[in-house]
């Protein structure tokens, strides 16, 4: 297979950047999207050009490192799939493929397709945890947790923190990411103790990072590789409302 790639190239954070065209030749249908880029990069290096910088690590869809907007869709548009698990057989021979980085003020581009998602870490640092120290915890079976609640918490906890939700949202909102973490912990009895503080701290940090607001378009849910539900955003809003009411009375 052969493709024409239009790729965002940007030397560093201060560079303005531009789309550049490359030819991807002799691509095999069984290659993953990132392997296709590997091949293109090998060709660039052979020509003495700098390869296209892009983030990836586990390449099995769980680490959340890869972060490409492919033909205008975060992770390329295959449901529940990260870019690293997307394979070239889903593209048409001869197609032009546009590749861009996540675009959001809170995710500045570091180089080419690599962005800085430290904002997500700072949101978790603000309250995305249960305040227990190592040791001194009760026996694991001391607090029963209903299977339904526990499964729901796991649904939210499945988030891989890739940032596709932000990339796809027309407002670059991080609500799905934050809601997933808040819900994971607020749903569990262990996490309920500090649930008000958690939701307010995390939302405050999210706002400070310069993400946009949720306008309930549902794009985030549609591109999420772990198919995290929009319902968690409603749940977080409720938790925030309760915290606001409690703080105001």
């Amino acid at each position: 297979m052969n493709f024409t790639l239009r790729v965002w190239r940007q030397k560093d954070a201060n560079d303005t950047g531009a789309m550049v065209e490359y030819a991807a030749k002799d691509i095999i249908a069984d290659m993953s999207f990132l392997e296709m880029l590997d091949v293109v990069n090998e060709g660039l290096i052979a020509k003495g050009e700098e390869p296209i910088a892009f983030d990836s690590d586990c390449r099995e869809g769980i680490c959340g490192t890869c972060s490409l907007v492919i033909n205008g869709i975060a992770h390329g548009g295959q449901r529940g799939t990260t870019a690293c698990q997307l394979h070239m057989r889903h593209f048409e021979d001869g197609q032009t493929i546009t590749i861009e980085p996540w675009r959001a003020r809170a995710f500045p581009v570091l180089k080419d397709l690599v962005t800085d998602r430290g904002a997500f870490d700072r949101i978790v640092q603000a309250g995305g945890f249960i305040s227990v120290n190592t040791g001194g915890t009760p026996d694991a079976n001391a607090i029963p947790v209903g299977k339904v609640e526990s499964d729901k918490a796991m649904d939210a906890a499945a988030c891989i923190g890739c940032g596709a939700c932000v990339a796809a949202c027309k407002n670059a909102s991080a609500m799905l990411f934050v809601a997933a973490k808040v819900s994971h912990l607020n749903l569990l009895p262990q996490g309920k103790v500090e649930k008000d503080k958690r939701v307010t701290s995390m939302v405050t940090q999210m706002d400070a990072e310069g993400f946009g607001n949720c306008t309930v378009t549902g794009s985030c849910e549609a591109v999420c590789p772990k198919e995290i539900s929009l319902n968690f955003i409603a749940r977080m809003n409720r938790d925030y409302g309760v915290a606001l009411l409690k703080a105001s009375t």
Binding site: I28, A29, D30, M31, S32, E35, D38, V39, E42, L44, I45, G48, E49, E50, P51, A53, D55, D57, C58, R59, E60, I62, C63, G64, T65, T81, Q85, H87, L110, K111, V114, D116, R117, F120, D121, V124, Q125, A126, G128, F129, I130, S131, V132, T134, T137, A140, P144, V145, G146, K147, S150, A153, M154, A157, A158, I160, G161, L185, L188, Q190
Partner: protein, 637 residues
Amino acid sequence: MKLDAKIPPGPLAQKWEKHKFDMKLVNPANKRKFDVIVVGSGLAGASAAATMAELGYKVKCFCFQDSPRRAHSIAAQGGINAAKNYQNDGDSVYRLFYDTIKGGDFRAREANVYRLAQVSVNIIDQCVAQGVPFAREYGGLLTNRSFGGAQVSRTFYARGQTGQQLLLGAYQALSRQIGNGNVKMYPRTEMLDVVVIDGHAKGIIVRDLVTGEISAHAGDAVVLATGGYGNVFYLSTNAKGCNVTATWRAYKKGAAFANPCYTQIHPTCIPVSGEHQSKLTLMSESLRNDGRVWVPKKKGDTRPPDQIPEEERDYFLERKYPSFGNLAPRDISSRAAKEVCDEGRGVGPGGLGVYLDFKEAIKRLGLETVKERYANLFDMYEKITGENAYETPMRIYPAVHYTMGGTWVDYNLMSSVPGLFVLGEANFSDHGANRLGASALMQGLADGYFILPYTIGNYFASEKQPKSDVNHPEFKLALDNVKALTKRLLSINGKRTVSSFHRELGKIMWEKCGMARTAASLKEALTRIPELRAEFWKNVKVTGENASLNQELEAAGRVADFLEFAELLCLDALTREESCGGHFRVEHQFPDGEAKRDDEHFAFVSAWEYQGPSKPPLLHKEPLVYEEVHMSTRSYK
């Protein structure tokens, strides 16, 4: 160098308790005076950094990923073992200890393993308190499954994402400490050297992967939790970024490297589809519960599987191991698959694959039941191969998955360089020659949450070292060396890409030092690796510059280290004239193909000491003494 494992005296079951009491403590008010450097933010690194910060130490934590949450612990699927005996099926600390020792083919330290089994219990409590959503019963209590052939159900799991959930638990604890200022986190920062002053680890040299700035960080102790070296084979189930650089550079600074030849191969991975392949993907071994493994009887049979009649199929595992059949242990099934492929009977592109057929299971159980059990795995398989495994058999092939060897550490997890501690997969300590399923997560967290935080205090309290200072000439020297190395890599400007060297190295390692090793193949590898290394330093092309994000430069440094490390791995494999666990020497097997251990001559840990660039490393033998268990030979016939 004299290796002392520092195993505490006394009966096995009381060693750790007694040791905890005997160790010196650091006064709570003094803890903030100690700076600890943690490299790596996986299960071991994140849990250690968080716990030490909670205790009051000043911690700096480094990782090369863009966030500590992305460390490769995240990819572990199956579960985590713990001797909770919640299922009332006869599990105990002693049983987990025994299974681990036996699973490790009697090449691990009794005392370490016993301690691991003891603290496994606390890990589950800790994780649940942190909010790890382990699977539960309707009654609200935790559920367990049996894993990797264990006869008790002691594995805790969170769907197929146990590693992810445990890592997020540790990441959350770490984030809490970053948020309150007790840990300073350095993401996208790679450790490139350890600084040793007067025989003690006193800091590290790092490169900021975004700006290229190379800087020194001083600490009163350095903790490496940098994972395994599976990527020396190029293709493995490890993440692309996994590397041996941290432990290898520590080795060159005096930290002995132990048992590098113990590498674990996983039988059920998705086969290589071509030269471009960048990594291999593991599928849960549970598939073998219902799938039947076969290849055509005829060599080079290219017919599609559904056109090969029953009588022309060879169900080789069922044939060779009638009592275990398709469930034969990992190394045995892996080797059997390799053998049939070597005979030219492999299937799929390149003939490197065997069928895992569900046709009979679907007939027996119904499509719905098979879907219920394995739908996520079948989906994953289809995503990668584009084939529907409900209709046509899956193709599987073994792949490198985990490395048991690592930096030698004593009972306190301290390497042969005082003040340098090594945790998790990066050390060698607990799995012997082979690791049980669902035990890697357990070991990483045991080291980080419950062992290092105690033993590091003992080091501080008893050593009374002077404060480390980045202005010391040793720091300057190390800094200059790293800068020079970086410059050298960028200035070669040859013709071959970094990954082409890595791929070639991987091929040598996989073919000559993979599932089955011979003296001849290892000797061949030992001549080819130095040749390849020499070519690398003459002909590699590293594009770009140092002062920016340069992924080629990062990869070049890692491959350069793999090219050196590979030689040690092969040397260790050549020296160990026996077969045990993940190390199989073709010369040492029973007539039926079973691994033949040599307890009389090889019941020791091989710890290799670096002697300088042009000298062969020096082998130290730490004898393995079994007081509690009797060394037995396994049989899966």
